[in-house]
């Protein structure tokens, strides 16, 4: 056990959210601390890694971006399989994007159970005036599904760092508790690709499109 603690814990985090809610900006702000910059050191924002040190334990995050277009909705399970954390982003000025988040939460709970730490993030709080999703309702919803709610603005660099650090802490905690009980081993292991066809059906009803 002592050996295991010394080693880096690596976590897989999936980013889910409709197109244009600012997933890419959020993760680029966190990893590169830049917003709409001319010079990013990375060519792509689809797979990024970040190393952290939380209370002396080393953590390595692998952040997996997913395609947010409606037509790729059914592919979700392939992406978030075996992930320890999920960040579900919505745009506070766009109600549809919040509905989409609710759908993902259901799916994630169904597929991964409680092994995954959920974060619901209301992005673009710099556009508070155009808010369409009530903050209180969102918080309440997050509580009801056992997720944590955050507000962030990639543009103003608000709440981004906190979001990732908090998530890392929660994942670390989960890992330690499951290591002790040793029950989650099987879940964290391998698994075949499962595609939830039934989950794709309601996806077609909603019409997504902020752009």
């Amino acid at each position: 056990m002592a050996g295991a603690q010394n080693r880096t814990s690596s976590f897989k985090i999936v980013l889910l959210g409709e197109g244009c809610v600012g997933k890419t900006s959020l993760v680029l702000r966190y990893v590169e601390d830049k917003f709409n910059d001319k010079h990013y050191s990375t060519l792509q924002a689809s797979f990024l890694t970040k190393k952290l040190n939380i209370n002396g334990s080393r953590v390595s995050l692998a952040i997996w971006d997913t395609a947010g277009q409606e037509r790729f909705h059914a592919l979700g399970p392939i992406y978030y399989r075996d992930s320890q954390g999920a960040i579900l982003v919505y745009d506070i000025t766009d109600e549809d994007s919040f509905e989409k988040v609710k759908m993902w939460v259901k799916e994630l709970r169904k597929m991964l159970g409680n092994a995954v730490q959920l974060c619901i993030v209301g992005n673009k709080i710099d556009k508070e005036k155009e808010r369409h999703v009530a903050a209180a309702a969102a918080e309440e919803y997050a509580k009801s599904v056992g997720a944590k709610h955050y507000h962030s603005s990639a543009k103003l660099n608000k709440g981004v760092e906190e979001l990732f650090v908090d998530l890392s802490k929660r994942m670390l905690q989960k890992k330690l508790s499951s290591d002790e009980s040793g029950s989650d081993r099987a879940v964290g292991g391998r698994g075949s690709v499962v595609i939830a066809d039934d989950s794709a059906a309601p996806a077609t009803q909603k019409k997504g499109g902020c752009c």
Binding site: K38, L43, S60, D65, A67, G68, A74, D82, V193, T204
Partner: protein, 529 residues
């Protein structure tokens, strides 16, 4: 000729709308090109005709020479004395049974013929054979022979892996003595256990065995005190090497094994991708400018990389191919964006929203061989740490997504109506326009030039028509003019009056007598006053 002149006049007249000189030049070039083409074709034809008319050269083989001597309709082969494989086999069999004397030479030839006969068989026969083989467990037979004929098979199997074996050995030797012994003992144990798996075990059993081994080793490394001195990177390296060694040993057995459906899945996926050849970048809404030459090169490279996937043996190398291919896609995005950003706005970083559609396109265009087998092989036998973390895992997951998307692709996922989708699938409609089709540059140029020639032809016809029209109008105008004049003439006829002579006052006329005589000056003398 006159048409040309009239055309010239027309250009002068309708200067604004007329053919621009550039286009005219292009048209002339195209004409010359066509002329050259026709000429060369003719000359080549003549040359070919000449050579054909000569008596056949030495290496010329008549088609009838290639047929089987038995006239069974198949091709024969000199190795089988001019027979096809089947006829030759039956012939040799007959000879053997009649003479009952096994000729050394013939038996060797027979063996050769049997081995060479395999490609001649149709695929269904081949598949049957494989299925039959799968009933008699190939693993068992493979390992049985290992035991029986240890020295021989070991030689053949280790020959290929000799390099890696020594690499693995060298790596182990770099570790401390207890680790070296522990690991090699465990690996040997595992391999011998793997050989002893039941005859009719499924591929899942194999996969489970390998995965369990990875997990046991990982847990063991975490717990056993002899590993505590190792650095984190060294542990990772050790796991890496282990996986590489195992997969090298087992690849031939576990890749696309006969006790799975991999082969059928490969074929059906390949067919599916082929039937979707018409899907364009625009339909997938990939936001990239595929007309740019740099972007195209990047995409072509990406396709080449993904095709290479099948040639690699190790999961690690296979994943590297996928990552490389994905990087080229991001290159394509960068190039495409560089061109569109004129005033140096914010650099757009490609996200998964951009990447996935283009990756789908790449897979559709590449149609990588044995894709499904490769995916299954990696999911079954790669170490879990490789698949759950790291770039390789991410892009591999993306590839799984792409395959899933392609398999389930329907009209809705391309924003097409059912009818449109059906007509594309049945081949009734083909991708319209040159710009939507992904072809090599030369072909695209030909398409473009063809289109230009067609457009020019249309324009020329239009001009020819307007020339005729003008001619017609001119003659009409003339007739009208004539008619008007005639009418005028009728309305106001010209009456000619007799010509009057000119009056010349200086002329010496006879003074008319009616006139009084001119007053003569009178001279008044002074004396009278």
């Amino acid at each position: 000729m006159s048409l040309h002149i009239v055309g010239g006049l027309l250009i002068k007249r309708f200067g604004k709308t007329g053919i621009r000189s550039v286009n005219l030049l292009r048209f002339r070039l195209a004409q010359e090109f066509l002329l050259c083409f026709i000429l060369t074709k003719n000359t080549f034809g003549k040359i070919i005709n000449k050579t054909m008319s000569k008596k056949p050269s030495r290496f010329h083989v008549d088609e009838s020479d290639l047929w089987c001597k038995n006239q069974c309709g198949f091709y024969g082969n000199t190795a089988w004395k001019g027979y096809c494989s089947v006829c030759y086999k039956s012939l040799t069999n007959r000879q053997q049974s009649s003479s009952h004397r096994v000729h050394q030479h013939a038996s060797v030839e027979k063996a050769v013929s049997q081995r060479q006969a395999t490609p001649e068989l149709s695929y269904s026969k081949f598949a049957d054979k494989r299925r039959q083989q799968s009933k008699t467990n190939p693993v068992k037979s493979l390992f049985k022979s290992t035991k029986k004929d240890k020295s021989e098979v070991d030689k053949t199997s280790s020959k290929g892996h000799h390099h890696l074996k020594s690499e693995f050995g060298a790596f182990l030797e770099s570790l401390s003595r207890p680790i070296y012994e522990d690991i090699s003992k465990r690996v040997q144990n595992f391999l011998s256990k793997f050989k002893l798996l039941p005859v009719n075990s499924t591929v899942e059993t194999w996969s489970d065995a390998v995965q369990d081994f990875y997990q046991i080793i990982t847990e063991h490394i975490n717990v056993d005190p002899i590993y505590q001195t190792l650095e984190e990177t060294a542990v990772e390296n050790l796991q890496d090497q282990l996986e590489m060694y195992l997969m090298n040993r087992l690849y031939n057995v576990v890749f696309c094994p006969p006790n799975s459906n991999d082969e059928q899945e490969d074929l059906s996926l390949q067919k599916r991708i082929r039937s979707l050849h018409w899907v364009t970048i625009q339909q997938l809404e990939a936001n990239v400018n595929d007309q740019d030459i740099g972007v195209r090169i990047a995409l072509d490279k990406s396709i080449a990389d993904i095709i290479e996937l099948d040639t690699k043996t190790l999961p690690k190398d296979k994943l590297a191919c996928i990552v490389e291919s994905s990087r080229k896609i991001f290159d394509a995005f960068r190039l495409s964006n560089e061109k569109s950003e004129v005033d140096g706005g914010p650099q757009s970083v490609a996200s998964a929203d951009d990447f996935l559609p283009l990756f789908i396109f790449i897979i559709l265009k590449a149609n990588p061989p044995r894709l499904k087998s490769n995916i299954n092989y990696i999911t079954r036998f790669a170490s879990p740490s490789r698949l759950n973390s790291g770039e390789g895992g991410y892009f591999f997951t993306n590839m799984c997504c792409v395959v899933d998307f392609i398999e389930k692709l329907n009209a809705e996922s391309l924003n097409l109506s059912e009818e449109e989708f059906d007509s594309y699938m049945s081949g009734r409609t083909t991708a319209e326009g040159v710009n939507t089709v992904y072809v090599c540059d030369g072909l695209r140029l030909i398409h473009e030039n063809n289109g230009m020639i067609r457009r020019l032809k249309e324009r020329q016809e239009k001009y020819a028509n307007s020339v005729l029209n003008l001619e017609h109008k001119l003659s009409e105008f003339r007739e009208q003019f004539d008619e008007q004049i005639n009418q005028l003439v009728l309305r106001a006829p010209l009456t000619l009056k007799p010509k009057r002579g000119k009056a010349d006052i200086d002329l010496d006329h006879d003074i008319p007598h009616s006139l009084p005589s001119p007053i003569l000056p009178q001279q008044i003398s002074n004396s009278q006053i």
